[in-house]
Symmetry: C2
Subunit: 374 residues, 2 copies
Amino acid sequence: MSEDERFGLNKGVRLMGPVKLDNGAELVPVDFAYETYGEINEARDNAILICHALTMDQYVASKHPATGKDGWWTSMVGEDKPIDTSRFCVICINVLGSCLGSSGPASVDPASGNQYGMDFPVITIADMVRAQAILLDHLEIETLAAVIGGSMGGMQALSWASIFPDRVRSAIVIAATARHSAQNIAFHEVGRQAIMADPNWQGGNYYEGDAAPAKGLSVARMAAHITYMSEEGLTEKFGRNLQDRDAKSFGFGADFQVESYLRHQGSTFVDRFDANSYLYITRAMDYFDLAEAHDGVLAKAFTGTKTRFCLISFDSDWLYPTAESRQIVHALNAAGAAVSFVELSSPFGHDSFLLDAPDMNRIIDGFLKAGETS
Amino acid sequence: MSEDERFGLNKGVRLMGPVKLDNGAELVPVDFAYETYGEINEARDNAILICHALTMDQYVASKHPATGKDGWWTSMVGEDKPIDTSRFCVICINVLGSCLGSSGPASVDPASGNQYGMDFPVITIADMVRAQAILLDHLEIETLAAVIGGSMGGMQALSWASIFPDRVRSAIVIAATARHSAQNIAFHEVGRQAIMADPNWQGGNYYEGDAAPAKGLSVARMAAHITYMSEEGLTEKFGRNLQDRDAKSFGFGADFQVESYLRHQGSTFVDRFDANSYLYITRAMDYFDLAEAHDGVLAKAFTGTKTRFCLISFDSDWLYPTAESRQIVHALNAAGAAVSFVELSSPFGHDSFLLDAPDMNRIIDGFLKAGETS
């Protein structure tokens, strides 16, 4: 690892930015928690920024300190893996609004000395990206070899290419969309209402008390988790199989495996995620509509772009279906961008991008290598 | 209207049954709340039983006493309508477990003198049907000209034809399934967990207190409501339109129309529905697997049937997609049943069957008329 103290694992820094937010305010100071893997080269042009999804974190290829689990994308990131840490300096930053060390509603508001709670500003995907750019400035990385992300990470990758076209040589956008649909917003609103209905939420001021709105957050996670899996995947994995019993209980326990699984997803999530962060990040995603600031014409978000794009969708993803990726590809074509697009087959729905997907790995490997030689 | 006091509007009766439940117990007495429209003929063979969906009720073509709204299927039921009350005696019974007058968790348990709450037995779709048969016995109706239902009503119609093949001349099954999938169960489990997470739920013993678990029930309804509409329908109806404002608020109010709509769906639902009933009826639906008692072979549920079947699905219904209806049709074909099947096109998802659907009306009209002349 380099002797530059700014690079490595479990890094954090407070920068004075400020981040100029879409709501008109400025956020300052801004805390960043991030991980880097691999060495930055002398030209400082081999950095790859990985943007993480809603409930993910910067621990892309290192152990999560709270759960002790391996990184969430170890199949993709490492030596001799598609995002090869022997060739690239890989950076993953906890997004603004989250709760793993970067500024979010659980951070202390320097103005009041208390945790922000709902006084944290409502942020957007563009705000997240502008914040990341401030950290990259600090790291003296002007241009990215690539920005890569799935789901909300893909929204950030698109936004990076749109807001900072000169800083992004390649963008890989996986299982993403250029705008949240009414159905996407609806599911998120259910989750937010579940959190806000929990009396422990207390208008977001629960940090001082004994109890967080764990039940509400758990319900929110359960509802969202269904959208990350396909009907086919759920049927293949669970079907109508019973959990630890031979017959129906005629009660309200978790008779079915799928119930037990969902409850587990909900109850483990609350140990690693902050309910207010969930509110803020889902809001940012719902506000996302990349065409909005461009007269509703998505192609204008990429006018004159020199960035190479790679779009990947999954055929069983009903959260951000292939049609959404195709619209982005059409817009990129209209903007004259270099773009490749593949729909991959997988039974596992939206979450396919987090699973071991050899086809996806091969595509990303090839796309990155082509970028180095071009 | 007939002088028979058993027929007409706002009818109710307590019968001693008992209903032999799938859980092994017997339920007695059993209260029935029901509506009838049109006259029963001398042969008592012109009755049509309409089975209602999860949160619907017996007010199929008469005003709901609590909401003051017109019946939920006035486009289908009435004089000169497809289910023609000048030819048929139409009966709709509030299902067992519900809260509009038939026995359910809010009913008084004669054994204790208190409301059942969670002491009400966990029931099944078959239990609902067996209870309905007891009421039909009371009405001296041996055979039904038809049994008709959409969604959970379709599950009941299928069960009627399977359990009482000699009592059902025709069955019309709309937007239904022969078994709840893992995804179906998952969505219901989210709703149940939302209700049970509400501290006002109090283990189901909230009837004596000041407050029902309205917030939890509202969240449950919001989650379910998304599954009743298609992504396409939500986009067409709401898209990303803002509600009563020109710009995003950068807050957590209902910025988007779809949020406002969902919140309204949730908050009005709690005024007309009991949270415990929601638990019990969703459980009955999750337990539904018509093939289960027939060695997993759906066709065996209809062996030797003489009932005529009409199946209708909607192409945008992702809750019970066309593939589910097709499986039922295959099973009926294997059982040698007379069956017609149509997939209708509609952008409105599962709820299409509740909306004015001229194609559906024509199909049902024709199917019923063919049944009278055959």
